[in-house]
């Protein structure tokens, strides 16, 4: 079995995120890291391999600027065997639909049996890229999967949907986005971190992946940003720093009593 894991470089969670007012795009400068949700997808791939299924290749795949190489190194340190970096100026500014198309083209070259990804990215908060990729690859797809077993060329997946827990059988090849409850990702060993840069890394331009340039980039995206405005203002709440807990509790009780909540 060959598993491709889609990963993404995102601004570090500790860094304040902002929108570039001139383009309406996320300012992706500053400290970057591997999207934390993606580590669950890599871990899921590792657990399939360690669970006895013959997985000969785990490939981390990303689309992004040159700096995205760091996210691939992290993915490899967490267990991927090699990585593919789709990197081309023409891809910048692509919306979800265009990004999914481009990633699907990169995946077509790999012919994976299973494509895994995290439930969302830490920056854009899109839960949707998996469904776009699956459609382009004509593969079945399921998102927010929290339990996954491989048997007889199919996956048995569990997830929470609108009305409770669903169990769905999905035939391979398939695109599965995993929820963060599926596993606890391991920490990379020092040796794995040191060795990550030596693992094979292939860099692809848009032409290498046979991407139709008229379908990608900010100018060719169907959803187009026109402006940004502040949200409706709600007066800021009161904040208490707990130093003396007895005093804190007294303040809470007074606050609740004033509102007739006790």
């Amino acid at each position: 079995m060959k598993i491709c894991v889609l990963v993404k470089e995102v601004p570090d969670a500790a860094v304040e995120k902002r929108i570039d007012p001139s383009t309406g795009r996320m300012d992706r400068g500053g400290e970057k890291n591997l999207n934390p949700y993606d580590t669950h997808a890599i871990e899921a791939a590792m657990q399939i391999r360690e669970g006895g299924t013959d997985v000969e290749d785990i490939v981390a795949v990303t689309m992004g600027p040159e700096s995205a190489v760091r996210a691939l190194h992290k993915a490899v340190s967490l267990g991927a065997d090699r990585s593919v970096h789709l990197c081309d100026a023409s891809l910048a500014g692509s919306d979800v639909a265009a990004t999914g198309y481009a990633l699907a083209k990169a995946l077509e070259r790999e012919q994976p049996d299973l494509v895994l990804l995290g439930q969302q990215s830490d920056d854009g908060e899109c839960y949707t890229i998996g469904a776009v990729v699956a459609e382009h690859l004509s593969m079945p797809s399921l998102t927010q999967v929290i339990k996954m077993d491989v048997a007889d060329g199919a996956l048995r997946c569990e997830r929470q949907a609108e009305y409770g827990y669903d169990t769905v059988q999905v035939n391979l090849p398939a695109v599965i986005s995993v929820g963060d409850a599926i596993n606890e990702p391991r920490y990379p060993s020092l040796k794995a971190i040191m060795g990550a840069k030596k693992k094979p890394l292939e860099t692809l331009g848009a032409a290498d992946a046979q991407i139709d340039a008229s379908k990608v980039g900010g100018d060719n995206s169907g959803a187009h940003w026109t402006g940004v405005k502040p949200p409706p203002q709600k007066p800021p709440g009161e904040i208490i720093e707990d130093e003396d807990t007895n005093e804190t509790v007294e303040k809470i009780v007074t606050w609740l009593a004033e509102r007739k909540l006790i």
């Binding site: 995120k17 929108i19 996320m26 919306d95 639909a97 999914g100 899109c126 839960y127 949707t128 890229i129 469904a131 776009v132 699956a134 459609e135 004509s138 079945p140 797809s141 929290i146 048995r156 929470q160 949907a161 609108e162 009305y163 409770g164 827990y165 669903d166 169990t167 059988q169 999905v170 035939n171 398939a174 929820g179 409850a181 169907g222 959803a223 187009h224 940003w225 026109t226 940004v228 405005k229 502040p230 949200p231 709440g237 009161e238 904040i239 208490i240 720093e241 707990d242 807990t245 007895n246 804190t248 509790v249 809470i252 009780v253 606050w255 609740l256 009593a257 509102r259 909540l261 006790i262």
Partner: protein
């Protein structure tokens, strides 16, 4: 013409509340655009009466296709078919997991622009502009569509269900051929309820616990506090801890759980992710206890306490007991 096609999710003979809201919003927008709102339902033998009932929410027509329920790709097939045959400028989805999957798949199939987490839509120059909160809801971006079809996936509870229409919608059955990918997934069990049945929707006071409780036993602190508040209080939980098996599914608030608006929502060890926020932000009073001063929940709580809940909750429980028995 600028008709809007609205996906209507249904389960066990009832239309999803978020879908009803989407139909209402679709009808409002279509009227402004000079078109009609049509609903589409996919399922095994969907009753005409159920489909027609969407007329009350403003749908002039309800399309019904036969197909497996609870999975996204058969609906993508049905909606793509309807859009190719009909005259639609927009496709609209209420909040929820399937809407995200179907909307994204449809965007790929029809090369359409898609915006998700939409909280508002307005008409400008005969076109729709979608509003989407970004950066942890600290700003709202406005997005227009340049594609022939625009896809709007709303946030949970973004649109209110309003009975504005007159009479039943005209029901039209459509034949859909499933795509190869749609035949490769099969629902084994749907809507399984796990854990004890608890009622959080009727409670006036909710004490909700999240990952910050540290361990399943942390919920004992929440239960004791709820008990101190009296009979009108109950305990709720976030998706993360429910998926981890710390608390029953029936107590879950948020995107795939319940939506509540109690008099008091006391969040213990909850960071306040968007998926949780959408299920409780209409609560009258929100109190949050979290040791991380940067937790997003402090941005929408009325009273925030930065501190260790293991120290605060037991003392708060005792103080409320004392106050109530005084």
């Amino acid at each position: 013409m600028a008709n809007i096609l609205v996906f209507a999710l249904h389960y066990e003979g009832a239309i999803n509340k978020n879908s009803l809201g989407a139909v209402s919003e679709g009808a409002r927008l279509a009227a402004e655009l000079g078109g009609e709102a049509h609903a589409i339902l996919v399922g095994e033998n969907v009753p005409d009466e159920l489909a027609g009932s969407l007329g009350a929410y403003g749908a002039s027509k309800a399309l019904v296709a036969n197909g497996p329920e609870g999975l996204a790709q058969p609906v993508v097939d049905a909606m793509a078919h309807a859009i190719e045959q009909g005259d639609y400028s927009y496709a609209l989805f209420g909040g929820g997991l399937l809407g995200f999957e179907i909307g994204a798949g449809l965007a790929a199939r029809l090369t359409a622009g898609v915006v998700m987490e939409v909280t508002g839509v307005r008409v400008a120059d005969g076109k729709l502009i979608a509003e989407r909160p970004i950066l942890g809801d600290s700003a709202i971006s406005e997005i227009e569509y340049r594609s022939d079809l625009g896809i709007i996936i709303s946030r949970l509870n973004a649109f209110e269900a309003k009975q504005t229409g007159a009479g039943a919608a005209a029901v039209e059955h459509i034949d859909v051929t499933l795509s190869p990918q749609a035949t490769q997934a099969t629902m084994i069990t749907r809507g399984e309820q796990r854990g004890a049945d608890v009622d959080i929707e009727g409670a006036q006071i909710l004490v909700a616990g999240g990952r910050g409780l540290g361990k399943p036993e942390g919920f004992e602190l929440c239960e004791e506090l709820a008990h101190a508040f009296g009979d009108t209080a109950a305990v709720a939980a976030t998706r993360a801890v429910v998926d981890a098996g710390w608390y029953p599914y029936a107590a879950q608030i948020g995107q795939t759980g319940k939506t509540v608006a109690p008099k008091l929502y006391l969040a213990a060890g909850i960071s306040g992710a968007i998926q949780h926020k959408v299920g409780m932000q209409s609560s009258e009073n929100i109190v949050a206890i979290n040791k991380d001063a940067n937790a997003p929940i402090f941005e929408f709580s009325d009273l925030g306490i930065v501190g260790d809940l293991n120290k605060i909750l037991p003392k708060l429980t005792e103080a409320i007991k004392a106050k109530r028995s005084a």
